[in-house]
């Protein structure tokens, strides 16, 4: 396996690099296969969905991005952050019902085409704000603090270097290298 494949496998995603990127935003970027997996062709990953409806998992990924939108962060990191809900739903019917009900409420508020069918972030955020008193919203939001921001793969995108002891700290690596003051 390539490094990317190894990383994807560890994160519970698999590499599917055989489709071309399609136009049309998030709704089109993640396809749902006949076997119920989510497929993101442009980012070359797939996620098997076992506990939730595939459409629900797709919506949760967009909800995650709308809660903590980082334009430099690819969908796959939001997918990794949210896949735990599919695992929880697979093992717990009540959790599954709560998540499906939350997403159904979002879809209901969004109207035809559902939440992922609303093309503009501002409109979706307005829907989320209206649903933010739902305990499931707070569960998802607070869960993202660790499940999104504790992914080591995204730290370099924010300029955070993580573990430093094995590199001898920063005493010879720029702890005082500021030049613009």
């Amino acid at each position: 396996m390539t490094t990317t494949e190894t990383t994807l496998a560890r994160e519970g995603l698999s590499r599917r690099g055989f489709l071309q990127r399609s136009a049309g935003g998030f709704a089109a970027a993640i396809a749902i296969t006949s076997t119920g997996a989510l497929l993101n062709a442009s980012e070359a990953w797939a996620l098997d969905v076992k506990g939730l409806k595939p459409e629900t998992m797709k919506t949760l990924i967009l909800v995650a991005r709308d809660i903590y939108p980082h334009d430099k962060i690819a969908d796959r990191y939001y997918a990794i952050a949210m896949k735990g809900y599919d695992e929880k739903a697979a093992g717990n019917p009540q959790t599954k019902a709560e998540i499906e009900a939350f997403v159904a409420a979002l879809d209901g508020a969004a109207g035809e085409g559902g939440y992922v069918g609303r093309p503009w972030e501002a409109d979706r955020v307005a829907i989320l704000k209206n649903q933010s008193a739902d305990p499931m919203f707070e569960t998802i939001r607070s869960g993202l603090i660790a499940s999104l921001y504790n992914q080591k793969e995204i730290w370099p995108i924010f300029g955070y270097e993580g573990e430093a002891f094995s590199k001898g700290g920063y005493i010879h690596r720029g702890f005082d290298d500021i030049t613009w003051l």
Binding site: I67, Y68, P69, H70, K72, V125, R141, S142, I145, A146, L148, Y149, N150, W155, F158, G159, Y160, E161, G162, E163, A164, F165, S166, G168, G169, Y170, I171, R173, G174, F175, D176, D177, I178, W180, L181
Partner: protein, 522 residues
């Protein structure tokens, strides 16, 4: 060679907790030939095993056992079961602390006299003066290797400090430097010099920052007079019919209830666990808990008027590189009521890694106002406010309805900000913002207090038994052979990080305990 004492040996001093207070007291007594058993609730994790990763380290070190909260402080809303960010391990919170080692100011021992009546505040003068503590402060600074004392050079300033210092200079502040830190700037006492690694809060993997884990405790063990028992959670302090304490019961690593007899018991479990233990030790003779004839056990909880200021600049800072608390500005630590509050505050640089910045910058926030701040992480600088908060009788640790895994009631921590605390915090937010804007910040954030690291005052010292729990030696007013040896002794909090004073009091207390034992007074 570490000692091993019989559980029926009633000649030992039992110390509950191994942090800055308990760990120091244990070594000081062991050096004097006193036999000591330290009971520590947490595991023994040596410094090589600390983790340079915020969440993993939190999982390894933090006290995560159930606690509950109430009151108007935001911690109650955002972190209802995490009132404090402190450590459950041998070495206690001396593993996590940042290292800032400042003496209390002379007037801070005399708040009631200095400030006069402050409505709602339960102010009291300490039964101690700075002059009485100075020789012990000197011993503590030498023991801990505090920079800018004992001819130890200051640490070099990192990027976060350079931004902070430039802002302080622009505002005309005079006393701003890289601090008095119990972090080796040069090799000392067999320990490494600081390698500017960051992750000070996650335990220093170089052993450069002073912690009882790898200084006091092994030194005490080397005398043959000290036994440390990790994973020993003390349940109750026991007493005889005369009211003298006779030992403690504790749950061992396997959950079995054990008993250790003792000549003296010293409680050093921090300002949440120490009052909890005294309250959980209530008996028919002491129905309100041990040492509680004043009713002050658990009251007057203080946590410092904290808060942080983070700012984003046009150019990179990389604040996380190097010492976490890399510098201090002390000009606002004076008492100047013309600012709209009594007491003062210090500003100290601080940084968080990306994961904890996401958790603490503005807990509960979401959307682009939040994420654009995180997007600016590499260009961010940060500082922390440490100010004197007002002791209030109603800010207190009580026994919760909830129980822990041994069916012992857990601590509930109630805290409401005093108007003086709020006025001080707002002033500090304003000055911090001005410092950063003076050097070109494009956006500044007032960050609310984190779960408390400076937990103080819940078994306070007092001259009169009716006003507090312990005397000037940390000896309980009610029971002569029961001592308190942690920050819960503080009568008031001062504006300074408390660890140096906790260590200082422990050194002084050890002298007193040894004398009292020698004269058979206890």
């Amino acid at each position: 060679m570490a000692a091993k004492f019989d559980q029926n040996d009633d000649s030992v001093v039992v110390i509950v907790g191994s942090g800055a207070g308990g760990g120091t007291l244990s070594n000081e007594l062991a050096q004097k030939g006193v036999k000591v058993v330290v009971l520590e609730a947490g595991k023994r994790i040596e410094y090589e095993d600390f983790i340079n990763d915020e969440w993993d380290s939190f999982g390894q070190l933090a006290w995560k056992d159930m606690r509950t909260t109430s009151g108007d402080w935001r911690v109650h809303k955002d972190f209802p079961n995490l009132p404090a960010w402190i450590v459950k391990a041998v070495g206690g919170t001396s593993i996590h602390w940042a290292g800032a080692s400042l003496r209390l100011q002379e007037r801070e021992f005399k708040d009631a006299s200095t400030y006069g009546r402050v409505p709602g505040a339960n102010l009291l003068d300490w039964p101690l003066t700075l002059a009485e503590l100075e020789p012990y402060y000197a011993k503590a600074e030498d023991k801990m290797g505090v920079t800018r004392t004992n001819d130890i050079p200051g640490l070099p300033g990192n990027n976060n400090f350079k931004v902070f210092k430039a802002g302080a200079d622009k505002l005309g502040y005079k006393e701003c430097h890289t601090g008095r830190m119990a972090i080796n700037s040069v090799e000392r006492d067999g320990r490494n010099a600081c390698q500017q690694t960051g992750f000070c809060f996650q335990g220093c993997k170089w052993g450069a920052k002073w912690s009882t884990l790898y200084t006091e405790i092994p030194k005490g063990e080397a005398t043959g007079n000290l036994e440390v028992r990790p994973e020993s959670h003390v349940a109750q302090i026991e007493h005889d019919s005369s009211g003298k304490v006779t030992g403690v019961t504790y749950f061992d690593a396997d959950g079995r209830l054990q008993r250790q007899k003792a000549r003296i018991v010293a409680v050093a479990g921090n300002s949440l666990e120490s009052p909890r233990l005294l309250l959980n030790s209530a008996s028919s003779k002491f129905p309100d808990g041990l040492a509680n004839s004043s009713g002050q056990v658990g009251r007057n909880y203080m946590r410092h008027t904290t808060g942080s200021v983070y700012a984003i600049f046009e150019q990179p800072v990389h604040m996380y590189r190097g010492t976490t608390m890399a510098g201090i500005m002390r000009d606002e630590a004076r008492n100047d009521p013309s600012r709209g509050f009594v007491g003062g505050y210090e500003l100290e640089t601080l940084s968080l890694g990306l994961p904890f910045m996401a958790a603490f910058l503005n807990p509960g926030a979401w959307g682009r106002e939040f994420t654009t701040a995180i997007d600016g992480y590499s260009n961010m600088a940060g500082m922390w406010i440490v100010g004197e908060d007002m002791p209030q009788e109603t800010n207190r640790v009580t026994l919760s309805d909830q129980k822990d895994k041994w069916a012992l009631p857990v601590a509930n921590v109630h805290f409401d900000d005093h108007p003086n605390d709020i006025a001080m915090r707002n002033h500090a937010f304003g000055q911090g913002k001005a410092m950063y804007e003076a050097v070109g910040a494009t956006r500044v954030f007032p960050t609310p207090p984190y779960p408390s690291t400076h937990n103080l005052g819940t078994n306070r010292m007092s001259a009169n038994a009716r006003d507090g729990v312990v005397n000037g030696h940390g000896q309980s007013h009610d029971i002569k052979n029961l001592f308190v040896s942690d920050g819960s002794q503080f009568t008031t909090g001062g504006a300074e990080n408390p660890t140096l004073t906790i260590v200082t009091l422990a050194i002084r207390q050890a002298d007193y305990i040894a004398e009292q034992m020698k004269s058979n007074s206890i």
